[in-house]
């Protein structure tokens, strides 16, 4: 009998045998041991050539088949106390086939649950006055269970489009204070990075706040000229 199977990988010897039988449209109970053994052995030779993974299970099955084939030659159906040498294999295959079909059933339903959406559990805890003293970076990097690490390694799943927040006055005051403390004195222009109207206004307001707080003094030579900012010592 000619057979022609594309060289695909099988889950194991039973998977391969089962496939050979169904490709040949043979009733499992009527397996021709000689034929199926030849086909099986031819197949695993092909696997070897193609460098497909040939596990010990495939090889063991091959020797089991060869043994069965020789025992079958001596087997006489007429003698009642003789057990058909194929019996054990046939039974194994029938059980395997049942579960293989059952797995097809599961496969057909494996996205069934995706149609339902569940809420996430609420998390309730109360934190009293928190002491931030004992924190260290190892606590952060070691906290991940493996699954979280996997998540983090993956790229974020949707493209990020940012709408930048407006610069807050508080942030800008901090920034101006930081610059003045560092430089001692500097000009207004040096504080402006993006030159948006918003940035200029917020920066100007920050300066007013800092003057009020007596942290800086300012000087302007002429109208519309750059403002010089100095730290109050």
């Amino acid at each position: 009998m000619k057979y022609n199977i594309t060289l695909k990988s099988y889950e194991g010897p039973l998977d391969l045998l089962y496939d050979l039988i169904s490709k040949n449209k043979i009733d499992i109970y009527e397996i021709s041991i000689a034929e199926i053994t030849d086909q099986y052995i031819n197949y695993i030779k092909e696997m070897e050539k193609m460098d497909l993974e040939l596990t010990s299970e495939f090889i063991m099955m091959a020797s089991r088949l060869v043994q069965m084939k020789s025992r079958y030659l001596l087997f006489k159906k007429s003698e009642e106390d003789q057990v058909d040498p194929r019996k054990e294999l046939i039974e194994t295959l029938i059980v395997y086939k049942q579960f293989k079909n059952a797995s097809e059933f599961l496969k057909s339903r494996q996205n069934e649950g995706d149609k339902l959406f569940f809420r996430k559990k609420e998390e309730l805890f109360e934190e009293e006055k928190i002491d931030l003293q004992n924190l260290n970076i190892q606590m952060l990097s070691s906290i991940f269970p493996t699954f979280i690490k996997k998540e983090i390694k993956k790229e974020s799943s949707f493209p990020k489009v940012y709408k930048f927040q407006t610069i807050s006055l508080e942030e800008q005051i901090d920034y101006v204070r930081f610059k003045v403390n560092k430089e001692g004195k500097l000009s207004f222009k040096e504080l402006i990075k993006k030159e948006t109207k918003e940035e200029i206004i917020v920066t100007f307001l920050s300066i007013l706040e800092l003057i009020k707080a007596n942290e800086i003094t300012v000087n302007q030579d002429t109208l519309f000229s750059d403002i010089l900012i100095k730290k109050v010592e």
Binding site: E11, M61, K97, A102, S103, F105, K107, L116, F117, F118
Partner: protein, 177 residues
Amino acid sequence: MNIRNIIESILFAFADPISPKDIKNILNDDITISDIRKEIEFLMKEYKKNNRGIQIIRLDDKYQMCTNKEYESYIKKILQPKKKKTLTQAALETLAIIAYKQPITKVEIEDIRGVKSDKAINTLIENNLIKEAGRLDKIGKPILYKTTDEFLKVFGLQSLKDLPELESFKEEEKEAY
């Protein structure tokens, strides 16, 4: 106050499958477990009857609140689509064996499949589809495996009884699905 409404709020807040027994512990009341079950079944039916946006599903002896699956297409638009899980043939075969023969050991699974199944078992555990169900009292104390609530949820089953008879898979009906 009404027990049914309290149960509804517990189902909503708990967000995981919860058993009538656990609900009884919370209520701390004279109500029996079977009455709690009745109240939940009443709610289930009521939601279903009116085709509400919310439904209660049963997972073995537990219950969980979720969206009505009819509205999946809308919900998908707001929530990130679930990661599609596609189990390999090896994992599906192993899962089918465990589903029907649980509790079962690795060796028994391997006898049926004819191949080593460690990797498939690990995959199933990682995906919370199976879990350990104790150990067999024989040499080596092999681990027994059984399916989880998550298994029922993923495959849209109320209980293991919803699985088709194993016998039915004897027929040559691969095309049936």
